[in-house]
């Protein structure tokens, strides 16, 4: 069973609204990833952190999302102004900081933008 906890499981927003989702990584995992899984089941990398620092993010994330991983609090990903094309499953994953280590995924937050 996944020990990466994502909340909420489902999120419904209107266009232009903010949409915030949270992730508690597995204990002891300093690296956190966010991926977007679209309706075609394709994964898009959004951003990753090591401890509180952003390691990499794509252009879209930098422009339209707000993300953080504060110490002793859940990580969060927030879309500042939701668009219909943002409707997707947002997956959080955590791992140890080693390149061949597995990622542990949460069940995701399914966002529907009406």
């Amino acid at each position: 069973n996944s020990k990466v906890i994502q909340t909420p499981r489902y999120l419904v927003k209107g266009q232009g609204q903010k949409a915030k989702m949270r992730c508690i990584p597995e204990k002891g995992h300093p690296v956190v990833f966010w991926y977007q899984q679209n309706k075609n089941n394709e994964f898009k990398f959004l951003i990753n952190f090591q401890n509180q620092e952003v390691l990499q993010q794509i252009d879209m994330t930098e422009k339209r999302f707000s993300a953080e991983c504060p110490s002793n609090s859940p990580c969060s990903l927030e879309i500042q102004s939701s668009e219909a094309g943002d409707s997707a499953l947002y997956l959080c994953a955590s791992s140890l900081p080693v390149s061949n280590e597995r990622l542990f995924f949460g069940h995701g937050t399914k966002l529907s933008v009406l």
Partner: protein, 109 residues
């Protein structure tokens, strides 16, 4: 740029037949390769990963061989089971995990 390619979007097989899902990659360096599986309404989870010493990883009857000469890491199983029906993703770690497009494996009785 770095990428992972899975050419089959959907593979439908009869139970008991062999499975082979294709995966090729492009990378500046020699990456670590992974196969993840996602069952319906579940979180993706690791199925197997490549080793640095060229050993062939195996798990739950699945195996994959990393061929650097052809940049491939195809997933195989000798006999498909109904419970193998799921989405399968090949992935390469290059600073972040880069996923292929995914292959939906559907096993029929």
């Amino acid at each position: 740029g770095d990428s992972v390619t899975q050419t089959e979007g959907l593979v439908t097989l009869t139970e008991g037949l062999p499975v082979m899902l294709n995966c090729t990659y492009q990378s500046t360096y020699s990456p670590f390769l992974f196969w993840y599986v996602q069952h319906l309404n579940e979180a993706p989870k690791l199925l197997l990963k490549s080793f640095t010493d060229n050993k062939r990883p195996e798990h739950q009857g699945f195996h994959a061989t990393l061929h650097k000469s052809s940049s491939s890491f195809h997933l195989q199983k000798s006999s498909a089971q109904l419970s193998d029906s799921a989405l399968y993703y090949c992935a390469s770690y290059q600073g972040k995990l880069i996923f292929g497009q995914g292959t939906k494996l559907s096993i029929k009785p």
